[in-house]
């Protein structure tokens, strides 16, 4: 009787939770693609609002791409725990004999695989709209991929803190945007440095350091926040 022994139990539960999230994302393609369409649409707006001169546009491109990708990630965060909270699955996750922080990590990884990574791959394509020179496509994509993982982890803390609230979305942005600042600075910095042909290695290293720190601390904070939201 009782659960499988500790280590295989966790691996099974973790893989199952990751699979569940990816399957659900696949089933709700509309909601999953929303951040990507938002990203492309807003980038397309900038030339209309700013300028079409390639040099000026290219100069702004890294920053514009990064800020818009950040907002697209923010858009998709609210749904991270909302449905599970509504139908009771979240309560069951809290009751699972596995460490909640680990299960939450699976959910955040799924959120990144479905959200952050596609944004990073799409960004160079949209860079073309902003006359971004081809040389900086790869650094842009790498910085976005690395940075969006931290954004998912930090953002999930805000999503967990506001999961039970009626209009949690707005409050979520107020809570997490200040925490996104370091990631934005180093991420956009990397893309900007690549644009002017400077060394962007340091930026990516710092982004990696931020990710490591977020991986270490965020899951615990997300689990604690979920327990507060569910059990008060």
């Amino acid at each position: 009787m009782g659960a499988g022994d500790a280590d295989t139990g966790l691996a099974t539960a973790w893989a199952a939770t990751l699979g569940r999230e990816l399957r659900r994302a696949g089933r709700r393609r509309g909601e999953t693609l929303a951040p990507l369409t938002f990203f492309a649409l807003v980038i397309a707006l900038f030339p209309l609002g700013l300028t079409v001169q390639p040099e000026r546009l290219a100069g702004l491109a890294p920053g514009l791409l990064w800020v818009t990708a950040l907002l697209a990630t923010l858009l998709s965060l609210e749904a991270l725990f909302r449905d599970d909270h509504a139908d009771g699955s979240l309560e069951q996750m809290l009751l699972a004999p596995q460490p909640l922080a680990a299960l939450v990590l699976a959910k955040v990884l799924a959120h990144w695989l479905v959200g952050g990574l596609p944004l990073a791959l799409l960004a160079p394509l949209l860079g073309v709209l902003l006359a971004l020179p081809a040389g900086s496509y790869l650094p842009l994509a790498v910085s976005l991929a690395l940075g969006s993982a931290s954004l998912s982890l930090i953002g999930a803390i805000g999503a967990a803190l506001t999961v039970g609230l009626a209009r949690g979305g707005l409050l979520l942005s107020v809570l997490v945007l200040p925490l996104f600042v370091p990631v934005l600075i180093f991420g956009a910095g990397a893309a900007q440095a690549a644009l002017v042909g400077g060394a962007f290695g340091a930026h990516l290293a710092l982004l990696g350091a931020l990710l490591a720190l977020a991986l270490l601390l965020a899951p615990w904070a997300i689990a604690a926040a979920l327990r507060i939201a569910i059990n008060g």
């Binding site: 803190l161 200040p178 370091p182």
Partner: protein, 251 residues
Amino acid sequence: MWRAIHRLGSPAIFYAVAGRLQPWCWALAIALLLAGSLWGLVWAPADYQQGDSVRILYVHVPTALLAQSVFVLLAAAGGVFLVWRIKLADMLAAAIAPFGALMTLLALVSGALWGLPTWGTWWVWDARLTSMLIQLFLYLGVIALRGAYTAAESGARASALLALVGVVNVPIIKFSVDWWQTLHQAATFSLVRPPSMPASMWLPLLVMVAGFYAFFVALALTRTRSEILRRESRTRWVRERVARTTGKAAR
């Protein structure tokens, strides 16, 4: 040690101890602030470069320091409340959070006023001003989250957790903003790092900083005591104390 925490953690004891300390703190704060102001405005020398506008330093530096200290205290109180479930820690956090936000705002405005004669504009993306602006948003988040839950206890716990997450991020934000400024601007005169000051300038600053901190302690004691009365209004000791003070003017 555990016994001491729990004893001090009891609102009744804190209420009494704070009641006795409070008048002294207020008196000390007012004295220090008066002395510091006179010293800073009248006797302290003007700066050979900035002239008299440097006197804003005596307001800007204390408020900036206090804004950061209050946030750290907020996180510490949050940690104590989350881990040991001592309600008094949350009462303290609820009492001091708005003041911390106000100090951050005051630091920002005084910083802008101080920079105005030098730069000719109200706002410059100076590293420390930018970090303070972000810290202001962190404060607003902590305060907003407290009121967002229908259950007061959940709101308090969520706010405490956010304060902890915030305090971990404050140094990271500061580091990244400093790094960001070196990229984007030649090292212009960074307003907020005052030039090495002669004793005649940093002594009044010391008095002003002490005055602001004394004011903070006094305010924190007063507001926490009100918070205790509000939350423990159904307990016997509160009803007795209120009955006793109904006669003479409420101290």
